[in-house]
Amino acid sequence: MAQLPGLFKGLGVTFKTMLQPTVTIQYPHEKEAPPTRARGVIALKEENCTACMLCARECPDWCIYIEGHKEKRPPRREGGKPRTVNALDRFDIDYALCMYCGICVEVCPFDALFWSPDYEYSEARIADLLHDKSRLGEWMTTVPEPPALESGALKKKK
């Protein structure tokens, strides 16, 4: 008999839920607004990338493919040795393999990878989920602004 109030409480919960609006969003007709920092897709800022391969090596799924070559650039000062830089030839992320862990974004030492909340890039063919560097670069337009720095954070820079 001690359980009886609980039974009616349960009935009340389901009845109340029935009268409340549902949480379902009818996707193709209406779109969900994901949080700004949602992990939708990874964007590549190509000019920051040095083809250091850290992201490709840290990727648990090995879904990042990077190819690059070394180039000679003119020296900084007159009469110096020519500089050697890495040029990026290929930067692909296979979203059929990616598990959205974000380790590549964390590990990138030059801020070349960003999370974007965009999620509409499903494809009919699984091979089309391989985004090359131009496609990854396009996602940069959807990357939200980084959050404002805390007060006093800028003072350290001299």
């Binding site: 349960g10 009935l11 389901t14 839920t17 029935m18 009268l19 549902t22 949480v23 009818q26």
Partner: protein, 342 residues
């Protein structure tokens, strides 16, 4: 009682058969759509099907039915083929027979038997045989366990169902469902005969017992041990697919509709409304009034179904034998004493 039209016996029988044949799938679709798909969805903060048919997915169950008909008729190699094929038909037949005595208007009844409610309760337990046949013929351990559980449960809850009805029968003084409707229509509460005397007031305990037992008869959650999918796949329905499964589905919801109709007739006054006690208007308004009451009772049944978790097997038997049956016996004694006293 004068018939509306003068038709020969075979014409009347044909019409009645067609009506009952079309009421059961319609009832299954309506209950399934309104409660199983939509109400359950909203109770879980979902929307349920929205696209089929264009308006809130009303076509979903019809589409499901068409899909079921297209399916291959699979019978397991070791199954007892004839019994396997007959089982769902027997379950459905018991549902059909339930509709024979339920009145929807002063003249709208297939056959107003003198022992109406007794007949209804008797044929409703026929489905146990079909369930047992299904479980045995499937040659599957889950099916067999499920059907034995179902048999144990249906027999256990048949008792409180019958005993709860006895209170109504004592009060109405008749077993005919038309007679019970009339008794409620002409009854008086302390001398006030304005709305008659729906037996929900005097037999509230009986209604509770009836609904709880009906819930178990329908093997609806929280009494769905026979089809507990976490342990028995789908119980006695495990090996059934396609049209044969559809028949089980229709029988389940058709019986839910019929038992709701019987509960509405026994406790809520049936088709009767005070404006048109008899004649053509009563025959037109009757089905609507009864339908509204059926939906109300069905709402209670499905509300409970979507709220509570499943009973354990021993709790299920305990609830029937140690609580419902003694309660219904007390109800009978109290009703009898009060009937004699007043």
């Amino acid at each position: 009682m004068t018939p509306l039209l003068s038709l020969t016996f075979w014409q009347l029988t044909t019409i009645k058969t067609i009506v009952v044949l079309s009421v059961i799938p319609a009832a299954a679709v309506v209950l399934g759509y309104v409660f199983l798909l939509k109400m359950m969805a909203h109770m879980q903060s979902r929307l349920g099907p929205m696209d089929p048919g264009g308006f809130h997915g009303w076509f979903q169950l019809v589409g499901d039915g068409i899909k079921f008909i297209q399916k291959e008729d699979i019978i397991p190699a070791d199954a007892d083929r004839r019994v396997f094929a007959m089982a769902p038909v027997i379950v459905l037949a018991s549902t059909f027979l339930l509709y024979v005595v339920v009145p929807a208007g002063p003249d709208l009844v297939v056959q107003d038997l003198d022992v109406g409610i007794f007949f209804a309760l008797a044929v409703s337990s026929l489905s146990v045989i079909g369930v047992l046949m299904a479980g045995w013929a499937s040659a599957n351990k889950y099916s067999l366990l499920g059907s034995l559980r179902a048999a144990g449960q249906l027999i256990a809850y048949e008792l409180p169902l019958v005993l709860a009805v006895v209170g109504v029968v004592i009060q109405a003084g008749t077993m005919s469902l038309q007679g019970i409707v009339k008794a409620q229509a002409t009854g008086e509460i302390f001398g006030i005969g304005l709305i008659g005397n729906p037996f929900i007031f005097t037999q509230a305990l009986g209604l509770f017992i009836f609904l709880a037992a009906a819930q178990a008869e329908l093997t609806q959650t929280p009494f769905d041990m026979p089809v507990a999918e976490s342990e028995l796949v789908a119980g006695y329905m495990t090996e059934y697919s396609g049209f044969r499964f559809l028949i089980f589905f229709m029988a389940e919801f058709g019986t839910a509709f019929a038992l709701s109709a019987i509960a509405a007739t026994l406790y809520l006054g049936g088709w009767y409304q005070p404006f048109f006690p008899d004649g053509l208007m009563a025959n037109i308004a009757g089905p609507l009034v009864l339908g509204a009451k059926i939906m109300l009772v069905a709402f209670l049944i499905f509300w409970v179904r979507f709220t509570f978790p499943r009973f354990r097997e021993d709790q299920l038997q305990t609830f029937a034998w140690k609580y419902l049956i003694p309660l219904s016996l007390v109800n009978i004694v109290a009703t009898g004493i009060l009937k004699v006293a007043f």
